[in-house]
Amino acid sequence: MLVNRIYWSLTILLLLIFGVGLFKNLGNTAFWGDEGETVQLGKSILQFGYPSVFDGRSTFIFVADRFNKENFAVYNSPLLQHYTAALALKLNDGIADPFIVRFPFALIALSGILASVVLLFKQKVPPFIIVRQDIMHFTYL
């Protein structure tokens, strides 16, 4: 049906526009506090294999006492984000480029949307519904 083709074209167009937009200016703002924490813990994973508040010289205590006093292992929040940051840092020789560090997180967000679109398609939701959800969802990212 022509209408459905139009909607599918719009869906793909929106995915392209917002998909490109998501990455276009990803590195154009410096890290702020919470992002810096993720980078610091990512760097410590490269150094010790686990997130640590101590890098051998400095102790970064974002939430007081939430670390092991013997090995400085920290558990302030779930671990996946720190290992994701560590992977990005590893691929960039340990240099904390905001674009490189944020890239995998943006990729995960985009994957979530793509997965939702695929599932909606499998559930036979008409594309015009998906188009409008795309607009709504991407605005949050």
Partner: protein
């Protein structure tokens, strides 16, 4: 991850979905374990109902095996976190595990998200039970989930809470909103056999609902467009550039490393560390370091929560050169206020200039 985990459960008899169940379960636990436990508990109840009430015994073995495998994969993570939890117990605090769990649910409960969702789902369940006498065949299908959570879109769009705390729920919300909208349109279409007309008529309704829930929605689109074509400069750039003697602009992580410096600051030391890699004394550790012999090479008192004067006894000693920069010491890097797509380079700040103190060379 959430959708993938639930979807794989509903198709668990297939090998590929068993693998996906393990992958998504592992990732979801490590990304957001309160969500993982809540969903896993729901799935466990679902399995029990399927086995006992619907005699679907073929689902039990794959669910049990996958759960055991998932538990085995998650065991090292649990031991790691539990060791730290034990330490907290010894210090007389609640475990980190529990604290985090409470923390996440506190965020979700902000502006009554949990209360409203609980009430909504209770009403839906009650109405469904009374009116339809619990349609058992629908209970077993993945696609009934949106139908059973039809007020979810209303719940997620309520309040003005910072969306980053509930952003993990957005893919679920995206899926549910789309599905429910489709169900609603199809109901109207069935009556009049004119699907396209109702599709078009629904567009202004949909846009109105978005506007009612998020009055800032359209202005955010404009800000997003601006965000894509602008460069934002904030206090972290100012600090890094001043220390590395670089002109006004964005900090460059490829040339900013200064590992030999000792720096003390009261906020965002991790963000500055990401660029400089120096030795840092943050506000917590400075209390211990004051007995040290080496003076910090740089002191950066930030205005954050009125803390600007906390290093006065050091900076007034005569050992430091005061540097007033052209950057503004905003509360957060680039965020003039923590909102979506609300980045701003603040340039007019007579009372909040970014100030650094540099140790004079003897």
């Amino acid at each position: 991850m959430t959708i993938g985990f639930i979807y794989s459960y509903f198709n668990l008899t297939k090998r590929i979905n068993q693998i996906l169940f393990l992958v998504f379960g592992f990732l979801l636990y490590n990304a957001f374990y309160p969500g993982f436990f809540a969903i896993y508990l729901s799935l466990s109840i679902h399995v029990i109902v399927r086995v006992i009430l619907f005699k679907q015994k073929n689902i039990f073995a794959p669910f049990l095996i996958c759960s055991l495998l998932l538990g085995f994969l998650l065991l090292p993570v649990f031991i790691y976190t539990n060791e730290i939890s034990i330490l907290f117990d010894e210090q007389g605090q609640n475990t980190a595990y529990l604290q985090n769990m409470i923390g996440f649910f506190y965020d979700l409960n902000y502006h009554a998200y949990l209360k409203i969702s609980y009430l909504s789902l209770s009403i839906i369940l009650l109405v469904t039970l009374v009116k339809y006498k619990f349609n058992i065949s629908k209970f077993l299908l993945f696609k009934t989930i949106p139908n059973n959570h039809r007020l979810y879109p209303a719940v997620i769009s309520l309040g003005r809470h910072n969306p980053r705390y509930v952003s993990l729920l957005f893919p679920v919300g995206f899926f549910l909103v789309s599905y429910f909208w489709n169900v609603m349109i199809s109901q109207f279409s069935r009556l009049n056999k004119n699907t396209i007309l109702f599709q078009f008529l629904s567009i202004p309704v949909f846009l109105s609902l978005i506007f009612l829930s998020h009055p800032d929605y359209y202005s955010q689109l404009k800000l997003y467009k601006e965000e894509l074509s602008s460069t934002f400069i904030g206090p972290v750039d100012g600090i890094v550039n001043t220390i590395t003697e670089t002109p006004y602009g964005r900090a460059n992580p490829y040339v900013s490393a200064r590992p030999k410096l000792l720096i003390t600051t009261n906020v965002e030391s991790e963000a500055i560390y990401a660029y400089l890699g120096s030795q840092f004394l943050d506000r917590e550790s400075f209390g211990i370091y004051k007995y040290g012999t080496r003076k910090p090479d740089w002191i950066i008192p930030r205005h954050y929560e009125g803390q600007f004067g906390i290093y006065d006894y050091l900076t007034s000693s005569g050992d430091y050169e005061k540097i007033v920069t052209n950057y503004c010491d905003t509360e957060f890097q680039q965020f003039y206020s923590v909102k979506i797509h609300y980045f701003k380079t603040v340039t007019d700040c007579p009372d909040r200039k970014l100030v650094l103190y540099k140790l004079k060379k003897l």
